[in-house]
Amino acid sequence: MKKIIFVILFLFSISSSDAQSIRSDQDCLRHPSFPKKFGFDSQTAMLSTAEIHDRGLTLIDPASPQKKSYKHPTWRLAGSLGGMTFDEKGTVYTFPAPHVELTFNPPTAQNILYKVNPENGIMSQWINLPINAKAFDQNVFGILGITFSCFSKSIYVSSVMGSSRTKELGKIYQLNAETGAILNTIENFDGFGLATASLNNKWLLFLGNARTSDLYSVPLNDQGAFIGKPKRIFSLIGLGPRGDDKIKKIIIKEQGLQITGFEFNFNLSATWELQQTFYQIPLNKLHMN
């Protein structure tokens, strides 16, 4: 049973003097059509990567009387999975992330992006990001975050592959969504959750950091390329029940960000009760200047 704590830290209230506007960059995303093909109601079906008794992707319908579920034969291909995103055609992009064990998630396979065909549901390897690691004793993780950008037709990926307790060697990639080609990278940054948005009509990428509780942002140009280095704009340090959550997911809301804070210390977890908390952060709490 997953336990999720909601913490509304600050009310979404912005005075006129500090008015800012934020717009999500995910309006073009579509859901895949394959749930219907597999006999699911497309209004209530959900894709899950966190089913306790099975690894991989699972199609579930929580609204159905017997909590109907389905697993395509290819959906265990990558072992346990982390997050996912869609594109404008309903293609699902996902990545492996070890949870309890490494049997189905060997460290060398944690920098591979997978794609699920929106119509037939077949999952396949898409892109192998570089493996810049020699040893995995201290870090068995690779990709930790992914987001699709509608304005630049890019996919942004965060990977901590190769990092250790003393060295931050992760990378942020901008990929061409059509070809998977690496367009840009940010070096030496262990990113976690990602989200692109337009803030005061300027595009930027929000980035959680997997080593600290800090939220960063980096401006993007019209092609979605990074302009400069990430800048720290907020921190969850001292907030929530644990006080040092890492930012696993970022959702752009009308007046701020909804952040999923998660207990993460570069080790595995034998429990399925996720230690995570939702934080609502208004725009005027972000140190953008």
């Binding site: 309890v100 064990e101 029940p241 210390n265 429990t271």
Partner: protein, 507 residues
């Protein structure tokens, strides 16, 4: 209390919503304490009319067992309870009595006195450079009420996390005093940083009772002992606990391969949160010392959380025992636990299995299962291991050791020693849920078992099978929370397994 406070107390204490969490479902009382009764602030009162016209009091209560804050508002003018709210995993501001208690616990803690060089509170006049502040902090693992008295000395601050639920010290740490103060100090950070710095990043050693050994916490193979000698003679190259397999019989293929090890930046899923402990053995088995390491999940003993113990017993007559236990609680009462030990002797020569009244030398890589039909030499020993300078009998548990173990039913594998086969840290050795000998080490044997030529170094892999039990009076590999003095405590039923090794000369 003032007359108003007494009135507020009388009003709230009889309110059924306020008293909702004072007892468990069986009627046993939780330890709860009123932390404060005081006039409500304007921001506490939603009804603006009441703000102007009434005398409103706020009552804050803390439930130590549930880590729950209950906040009530009463209107003394109308003699009514206005509002009662319960907040999980929350604590009200602590009262002066608990502040003083925290300072007293911290000020008298031996580790604090040692760190500061003298008692920090009682002789304050003599400690002009020492000041005390009481900071709120988090005990996010135990979910207890904690505060952190901080002793400033020169340009450093000693944080002392005091657990006011268990009335002890959760940990201490020196920090530099900067302009913005130190980063957040929590129970988990204190524990993890200490274990990582001292036992993951560094080797430790013990010299005692004729034994000499090094030990270190690994990324995912538990506490490894290395270069073990007895009376100056080599005994073991290395012993470690590479995995715990947990399979649940009621759900086909459901279970986990849990690795145990370092708490951060590791491949472990069940984590060492306390340092290894060394203690004296003086019992029916003999005299010597024990090296022990525990691993846990934060919410243990809640369901689907795990807790393991790893023990090394060294006796002054040269015997030693390697053991491990699950303390539940896991995801069900149909679980079978299999710890996988990797045991590498120094300079091995031969290994023999006792069968049909004789020692049968193993001349190739293979495995066997300890069953009800297994023969034991002198009704104790299943294997004989010869090294260049010594020989040992291996005695699996059949319930004869005084630790509650009910027998190992272990698979024993022997493989040729190879660097790539477990000398370094091993990632998950095998799947959780096989019900036969496919527990992982067999992959170093199959499909073509190699010959063990005399004097070839070999490795012994030992994989017991421990079936859990939650029946009252029969609990095994199990744990539950019980209410003691109004607070929850874990009651544990470990299932220990592991072999004893006896030097042949002292059998």
């Amino acid at each position: 209390m003032t007359q108003d406070q007494e009135q507020a107390y009388e009003l709230i204490v009889t309110n059924s919503e306020f008293s909702k969490f004072l007892r468990d479902e069986k009627g046993n009382p939780f330890l709860s304490e009123i932390f404060g009764i005081y006039p409500a602030k304007l921001s506490d009162i939603k009804n603006t009319t009441l703000k102007a016209l009434s005398k409103i009091y706020k009552i804050e209560m803390y439930n130590f067992a549930m880590n729950l804050a209950t906040i009530g508002l009463v209107n003394l003018t109308s003699q009514k309870v206005i509002e009662v709210l319960h907040y999980k995993d929350s604590q009200p501001d602590i009262p002066l009595s608990l502040k003083n208690l925290a300072l007293e616990i911290a000020g008298n803690a031996p580790e604090v006195i040692t760190a500061l060089g003298s008692p920090p509170l009682t002789k304050s006049a003599l400690m002009a450079s020492t000041k005390t502040a009481l900071n709120r902090t988090r005990c996010e693992r135990s979910r207890h009420l904690c505060v952190a008295p901080t002793f400033i000395k020169n340009d450093k601050a000693l944080w002392t996390i005091v657990d006011l639920t268990d009335l002890n010290i959760a940990g201490i740490r020196w920090t530099n005093v900067g302009l913005t103060g130190p980063a957040i100090i929590t129970e988990r950070k204190l524990q993890d940083d200490h274990v990582t710095d001292k036992f993951c990043d560094a080797n430790s050693s013990i010299v005692r009772d004729g034994w000499k050994l090094n030990f270190q916490l690994t990324s995912s193979d538990g506490l490894e002992i290395q270069q073990v000698t007895f009376n100056g003679k080599p005994v073991l190259k290395s012993v470690k606990l590479v995995d715990w397999h947990v399979r649940y019989s009621n759900t086909d293929g459901f279970g986990y391969s849990d690795a145990v090890g370092c708490p951060v930046f590791s491949q472990a899923a069940v984590l060492a949160n306390q340092p290894p402990k060394v203690s004296t053995i003086n019992n029916a088995l003999g005299k010597g010392f024990l090296l022990e390491q525990t691993y846990f999940n934060q919410d243990w003993p809640k369901p689907c959380n795990y807790n393991y113990v790893q023990k090394y017993e060294f006796y002054s007559d040269g015997r030693f025992r390697l053991s491990a236990a699950s303390i539940g609680r896991g995801c069900g009462n149909d679980g079978t636990y299999t710890p996988i030990f990797r045991i590498a002797f120094d300079n091995t020569k031969n290994i023999s299995n006792y069968q049909n009244g004789n020692w049968q030398a193993w001349d190739k890589e293979q495995w066997t299962l300890q069953s009800n039909n297994t023969s034991y030499y002198k009704d104790r020993f299943q294997f004989k291991i010869e090294t260049q300078g010594a020989a040992y009998y291996m005695e699996p548990s059949r319930g004869q050791f005084p630790d509650g173990g009910r027998g190992d039913f272990a698979y024993t594998y022997v493989t040729k020693a190879k660097t790539a086969e477990g000398e370094n840290n091993l990632i998950t050795i095998g799947p959780c849920c096989n019900i036969d000998y496919h527990q992982g080490p067999e992959k170093f044997i199959e499909p073509n078992p190699e010959k063990l030529i005399k004097n070839d170094d070999f490795v012994v892999w030992y994989a017991p099978q421990l079936k859990n039990d939650d029946r009252v009076g029969h609990e095994y590999c199990w744990a539950e929370s019980v209410l003691v003095n109004g607070r929850y405590e874990a009651k544990s039923y470990p299932c220990f397994a592991g072999p004893m090794f006896t030097p042949i000369k002292t059998e």
